[in-house]
Amino acid sequence: MSEPAVGLSHASKRYGALQALSDVSFTIEAGEVVAILGPNGAGKTTSINVMLGLRNPTAGTARLFGLDPKDLRARSRIGVMLQESGVPGMLRVTEIVDLFRSYYPNPLSTSDAIAMAGLEEKARSLVKDLSGGQHQRLYLALAVCGNPDALFLDEPTVGMDVEGRRRFLEEVATLAARGRTVVLTTHYLEEADQLARRIIVIDRGKVIADSTPAEIKSRVAGKRITFSTPNPDGDALAGLPLTSKQVDDHRVRLLTNEPEEVLRELFRRGVEMHDIEVAGADLEEAFVAMTRREATP
């Protein structure tokens, strides 16, 4: 039947001494909505760049709709938002959307593309006069204006305010509901959870999980318990359901999926604790825990 939208097969990418991707294989079928999740520097952008043919894999292969990703027929079927890419500041929003539309065989109308990105009020403005969030919306307009079968969004909501992010995610969800393939990278688990039906977790260039949001969340959505204790050594912390443990001087940081159980046990053991804080683990921390667990099963 139809070719998968993306196929990475044993793809590796090395930049000098840095192994940015190592032996990554996965397939994204047409119509799937996939989030690539990972901490900063994990290899998310590299994996997108390899999928899009913007970077050549050092080993392995990448395919877009069964074609070489550099093939202009493949690129005619995709729309992309890249991090840190620039656009000509001296063009008006309508002019640059018109320009990008002309690259694609079956584009949307200019006004539809601009409306989809919520930029109607800025349509006549010069690109250089847009705010950071409006720039991101312009990139969305440029990504969708070719009426692509697949959208690749690399950290698309960076620089957006809360309202902008909400509206943006709604637009992407609408596109996904119309059968578009969406591949987005993010380091917000929440964002991935909201949009995607599949999450690929990348860390240090490797896929460490590829599953549904529910399954991933249960593995990374932990709580962080922090407290000071005069005597952090010994058996006080032994045998607790922790995903990670860190002791700096007298300050103890624990990551766990069962915070109530851990606290109950600590109190039961009579461990002396001051300045107790319990907070949602941020994803960076959760990943650290997750990857440690992968490394030492």
Binding site: L52, L54, R55, N56, L72, R73, R75, S76, I78, V80, L82, E84, S85, G86, V87, P88, G89, M90, L91, E95, I96, D98, L99, F100, S102, Y103, Y104, P105, N106, P107, Y139, L142, G146, F152
Partner: protein
């Protein structure tokens, strides 16, 4: 499925080229620091240097006047200026802002982008010649035959082509910060050393020795002879221009590949 099969797999090229050319032209035009100087500078130099001695004959009485001769010089100066500075600085800036990153992910073929950039600069070069010609004929009262006007315009535009290659090469070799300095440092001295502003005989000896190898010097012969100034062997000049065109475009291709190899390999 048949509906999908009927959809075109690639956009058609002519509208794409038209849009891209329009966008590139508008981008050039909306940077007054560049567009205004490109159009005004040659006419201004003409006013400063050419007007006062416009009726002085360059040889025996009845021969080409300095007004006609200097019109040809400034026409060439103007078009080559658009190419070297226009490309050099704009390409370097666009690279600095990573505009090439997003373009690279679109189905825009690289050659469409380059042709569009060249066409837009040729259009601005035409405007610069028109402004200069208008100024020289209306204010300076310079007269040329229709065939001389045509030959001058065609030759000046043809002679701008190798400088398109040079401009691209500099744009891919220079950084955004260094591009204005580098392009001016290369272009202005060679314009002087090629005799565009002062006769070569007034320049130091070593410059006179170097001049025959400068592309602008060869191009200058071609435009001077188009207004009737006697140049003996313009065939050699054409060969030199062809060689410079090939050389500069190869340099540009090398510089482009080097830049892209760093970013997209």
């Amino acid at each position: 499925m048949s509906a999908i099969a009927a959809r075109r797999a690639r956009a058609s090229l002519p509208p794409m080229l038209a849009r891209q050319t329009y966008a590139e032209f508008v981008k050039l035009l909306r940077v007054p620091a560049f567009s205004v100087t490109s159009v005004v500078l040659p006419a201004m130099f003409y006013a400063f240097i050419g007007l006062g001695q416009r009726n002085v004959p360059m040889g025996p009485p009845g021969s080409v006047t300095f007004g006609q001769y200097f019109l040809a010089s400034m026409a060439l100066y103007g078009v080559a200026n658009v190419m070297v500075l226009g490309f050099g600085i704009s390409v370097a800036n666009e690279r600095g802002q990573k505009q090439d990153l997003l373009m690279k992910a679109t189905p825009l073929p690289a050659y469409v982008f380059f042709v569009a950039k060249a066409l837009s600069a040729l259009a601005l070069a035409m405007i610069s010649i028109a402004a200069l010609g208008l100024f020289a004929s209306v204010v300076g009262g310079v007269r040329l035959d229709t065939s001389q006007w045509l030959t001058l315009v065609v030759r000046a535009m043809l002679c701008s082509i190798p400088f398109i290659g040079l401009g691209f090469a500099l744009g891919y070799l220079a950084t955004p910060n260094s591009a204005p300095a580098v392009t001016n440092l290369i272009y202005l001295p060679t314009a002087f050393a090629s005799g565009l502003f002062f006769p070569l005989s007034l320049l130091p000896k070593f410059l006179q020795d170097v001049a025959p190898y400068l592309p602008l010097f060869r191009a200058a012969h071609l435009v001077w002879s188009s207004v009737g100034y006697p140049e003996n062997d313009i065939n050699a000049d054409w060969y030199f221009m062809a060689a410079y065109t090939a050389g500069f475009f190869l340099l540009a291709l090398w510089a482009y590949r080097r830049d892209q190899g760093k970013k997209f390999n």
